[in-house]
Amino acid sequence: MNTLEIIDLKVSVDNKEIIKGINMKIREGEIHTVMGPNGSGKTSLSLAIMGHPKYKIVSGKIILNGEDITNLPPDEKAKKGIFLAFQNPIEISGVKFSALLVASYNRIVNPSMQPSELFRNIREVIKKIGISESMLSRGIHEGFSGGEKKRAEVMQMLLLKPKIAILDEPDSGVDVDGLRAIGDAINKLNAENRTAFLIITHYRRILEYVKSTNVHVLINGKIAASGGSELAKLIDEKGYEWIEKMYKK
């Protein structure tokens, strides 16, 4: 049973503490959602878990299946089955998308798959997520619209079948069709692969397509509240300020 544990995590950026002690346990098959106002530290959390050099883990641990992976470099975390879909993926114009997919697949899933079979898999996956094949020969995220970027990130997730997938705002800047495709992808991976999810969302549109088992509200670098899907409804009705007030008590 795959489990990602975040224990008392404190993270600082540019000498400023952004994450002030977070605890979370994400088990196989669960879909966790993290919400919160802008600046609460949601993206920082995702980047810190993945090992971005600018995000210094000051104290605390990240444990995957009993193994302490807190200070591993990002590629090793990826190889151990953690995937991050970025909120604002960076453009790498010199490198063809297809080249990245092949390199990534070889390292994370299967180093000895035949290119022809691999490309068959890739084509299936891009069809499912709704992006055109021409994107494969373009530079990574080069000239992609906001929605295309999100789809391209989720497409990689489908291809790499991670144990734990962290999605940073997969629903922002995406149209209705894209949202449905992304929602389907999440549900499919969750059902077939038992992938556990940590979905960061601001507007919660993704929750129209995906049922969240655990909801957390992040305010000012700390989890102010945790609960089930009713918590999400509560936020919809009462807003973050109400939660904040409750939290301050």
């Binding site: 993945m50 975390k77 993926p89 790498i92 010199g94 063809k96 080249a99």
Partner: protein, 388 residues
């Protein structure tokens, strides 16, 4: 001293046909300076012509006798050895050559010493391979070739220019396409630890198209001048030039696209990687003249510097001489890959070294699959020795 001494040259010329005309060409070579105008505000010339001046080379040229037919066109040390089966060819007279020796000192050199002025006529869809190489040190290998592609025809040609340690490969080529023709040119200028000077003039008539893919590497001083003359209506070109600078090599690419034809278009991507203490230079002039209205041009120049002593020059020039254009733009940049880019690739399972390698290896890639595969076969082994 000079590239070649007068004595050596005149001696060889006396054994070739049209001695008088060749002597005239040699005189032009002697009196023409390498470059009349400074390239730039600070660095005087982007090609260090002094490197050629210090050579003092020999010649290994023989008058052409019997050229055998085979599966390629082969020129060894300047001598035409083989012509591809099925290709129509003639040898031009000195008065018939269409590139003006006055255009550059080294064009004059080539026209004075090239044993033949080879003219190929493409009258049906053709695939050509030209192996133009040197296999001895310290010699000058001049060659002059014109290729005419007749109306409506297609030419696919691979030119392998390969020099040799301390030798100078001096290649002058003109490709001329008639109406509705198309040319797919692939060229490799491999200094092979020697020198090269390659001059390619490429012009065509109405509604013609060409795709040009060039790779430059390994030369102590390599100069490529590519002139694409879009002088007729709806002519267009897609240009891809890649330079891999290693060791202390200096490689200069001067890519010019001149639009004098209405509704012509050009689209170019010029890239270079400078490793070790090499110098790569990507430059050229894209011009839309008054007569070339309703045209469009877009040229991108990019380089990556990976080496404490490596240097990169990117100087694309854009001249627009009419207000009636579709589009005219260019961009140039020199960047190292960013931490964020490396991080992204690492989150996809590549370690630091692999991520850097991927960016570097892919940087010089081509959009077209066939060319991508072909050129990478040459680029990858060189990059591997550098740890990428």
């Amino acid at each position: 001293m000079g590239i070649i001494s007068e004595d050596k040259a005149l001696k060889v010329i006396s054994n070739l046909e049209e001695e008088r005309e060749r002597q005239e060409f040699f005189k032009i070579f002697q009196k023409t300076p390498y470059q009349r105008i400074n390239d730039s505000p600070t660095v005087k010339h982007y090609t260090e012509w002094n490197e050629y001046e210090s050579l003092n080379l020999d010649l290994d040229l023989k008058p052409v006798v019997d050229v055998k037919r085979g599966n390629k066109i082969e020129i060894r040390n300047g001598n035409l050895i083989e012509i591809q089966e099925g290709v129509k060819y003639t040898f031009l007279k000195a008065s018939e050559i269409t590139i003006n020796p006055n255009e550059h000192k080294l064009i004059a050199l080539s026209t004075s010493l090239s044993p033949v002025y080879l003219k190929l006529k493409v009258d049906r869809p053709t695939e050509l391979v030209l192996e133009n190489y040197i296999d001895r040190p310290n010699i000058l290998s001049p060659s002059y070739i014109e290729i005419e592609v007749l109306e409506g025809e297609k030419l696919k040609i691979l030119i392998n220019n390969k020099s040799y340690n301390s030798s100078l490969l001096n290649s002058v080529i003109r490709i001329f396409g008639r109406e509705n023709s198309s040319v797919d040119l692939m060229m490799i200028n491999d200094g092979n630890d020697g020198y090269y000077y390659a001059h390619v003039q490429h012009d065509y008539l109405n509604d013609s198209f060409s795709s040009i893919s060039i790779l430059n590497l390994r030369s102590r001083m390599g100069h490529l001048k590519y002139n694409n003359l879009l002088s007729s209506k709806r002519s267009s070109s897609k240009i891809n030039v890649r330079t891999l600078g290693t060791e202390q090599y200096k490689i200069d690419s001067d890519i010019n696209v001149i639009h004098t034809g209405v509704e012509s278009s050009s689209d170019g991507t010029l890239k270079a990687i400078a490793l070790d203490s090499s110098l790569t230079s990507i430059r050229g002039r894209a011009a839309i003249e008054e007569s070339g209205h309703d045209s469009s041009t877009s040229i991108i120049g990019r380089s990556i510097i990976l080496g404490k002593d490596a240097k990169a020059i990117v100087a694309p020039m854009l001249e627009v001489n009419t207000g009636i254009i579709k589009m005219a733009k260019h961009s140039a940049s020199t960047q190292k890959f960013t931490d964020d880019q490396i991080f992204y690739l690492m989150t996809r399972g590549l370690d630091f070294r692999e991520a850097a390698s991927l960016i570097v290896r892919e940087f010089l890639g081509f959009e077209d699959e066939e060319k991508d595969v072909y050129f990478k076969k040459i680029i990858y082994p060189v990059l591997s020795t550098k740890g990428y």
